[in-house]
Symmetry: C2
Subunit: 261 residues, 2 copies
């Protein structure tokens, strides 16, 4: 899929089933978001969970029960069809992967859109910093860390992190640039030592694809919006629909956020 | 109440019923927040409403149903007693004002903490800008504007704004400073002409106390976390508890936010 297509065009391509790749590198001017869909009964606890864990779960928009249109983030879009891939979790197990959720939808479902680090990757690229998962169009490496979320109601579990190899000399700049995007996970939560956050083998990510750390590079970790998927497993959430990791929902919201500052 | 008391001390004073004034000017290092308490049935719609209206309703923390402790914002505090004044709305009417809500509390109630412009007033004062409602310990002027919130479910209504007189020469600096606080309403939403946002008489605020505009000053308006109280009236919300305008809940969260950027 060509990187110059608009968010509307890419959402339409996903709707037609014509787009399977990662969204990393697409729509440099817009925010990309993670998606979590839950029954209304669980939605209040999950909203509380997001506010208590703003690094992995920065709230961009919540849709009222049964409403499939993100009127703030992407007016006219349909959250049931406009993502390339969906995952369905029941009782903490991944039970289905599919290209739309029209037949699962009902008036009780509440959709959460959470910020994504793909949003700030463009700022790194514009500053001349290589982002390997964009250059290769591979799915960024994601790991379940030993860091714990702050619980809220029935939701508890580990923080999932994304990892990008960054040259040592550029870590400070990368940190400062990503810190400008609190709506997209903000600054790294760890630099350098995977074992310090419970990651023993960088070649075996829980989500996405492995990536080599070249000489002179260090692994840099950001909180990741796939965290709710690990939480679903850990807390045995009865029912949850999410996006396929690395295949985000593309919004029309400006990359820098729509609040000054 | 002395401005050097800590947030914990001021919450205790409120709990003992020994503090009646505005919280403006207190706890310069911490965030102050608006409070909205709703039955679980209405809470998902209201969470969606907040995410669609981040200027007036920036989400700081949502507490799960029945939980009176803001574990992220003020561990150990009790939202039912630690504010100087509460308002109770039924069917869109203000029906009670009281100093605690212990006897109204039940396991179904969900508490929302929303950012407040009192948080950034300290940054203005530190920059040498006079903030009259702090200097006089008066309750800041608040007005129901003609600006409309983005609806979500059953919630709709006008944006409430706070107003501070600012010397013309300092408006640019005030705008830049407050823009650094998106978690506390951010930059002004209007400068200069009250009629442009539907305000006909600055001497008659809907909430708080009037304040004179001196020669060389202009009125500067920020989105205000009292907006949900006007929404309760406009949408005839069956039941809502809020703080008393200008008497905020004092958190332990750092003023600048706990995310870099």
């Amino acid at each position: 899929m060509h990187a110059t297509l608009s968010a509307t065009e890419l959402r339409s391509a996903a709707r037609r089933g014509e787009w399977q790749g990662t969204t990393a590198g697409h729509c440099p001017g817009q925010q990309q978001v993670n998606v979590v869909i839950l029954p209304r009964d669980a939605a209040v606890d999950f909203a509380a969970f997001c506010t208590r864990n703003p690094r992995p779960c920065p709230l961009v928009e919540i849709l009222p029960p049964g409403d499939p249109e993100p009127v703030r983030s992407a007016p006219g879009a349909d959250i049931r069809t406009d993502i390339a891939g969906y995952r369905v979790y029941r009782d903490g197990r991944l039970v289905d992967q599919r290209s739309d959720i029209l037949d699962l939808w009902h008036d009780d479902l509440v959709t959460f859109l959470l910020g994504c680090s793909f949003t700030f990757e463009h700022a790194l690229i514009e500053a001349g910093i290589g982002v390997r998962n964009v250059a290769r169009q591979s799915r960024v490496s994601m790991f379940v860390s030993s860091l714990k979320c702050v619980p809220a109601g029935r939701f508890h579990g580990p923080v999932v992190v994304s990892m990008r190899p960054i040259p040592v000399a550029q870590v400070e700049e990368v940190t400062a640039l990503s810190a400008r995007y609190p709506h997209a996970h903000g600054a790294p939560i760890h630099v350098g030592n995977p074992e310090a956050i419970g990651i023993t083998d960088l070649s075996k990510p829980e989500y996405g694809e492995p990536v080599a750390i070249d000489p002179g590079e260090v692994p840099v970790f950001w909180a990741c919006g796939v965290t709710p998927q690990a939480v679903a497993v850990s807390a045995r959430v009865p029912f949850m629909i999410t996006h396929e990791p690395a295949q985000m929902f593309l919004t029309d919201l400006p990359r820098e956020g729509d609040l000054p500052g």
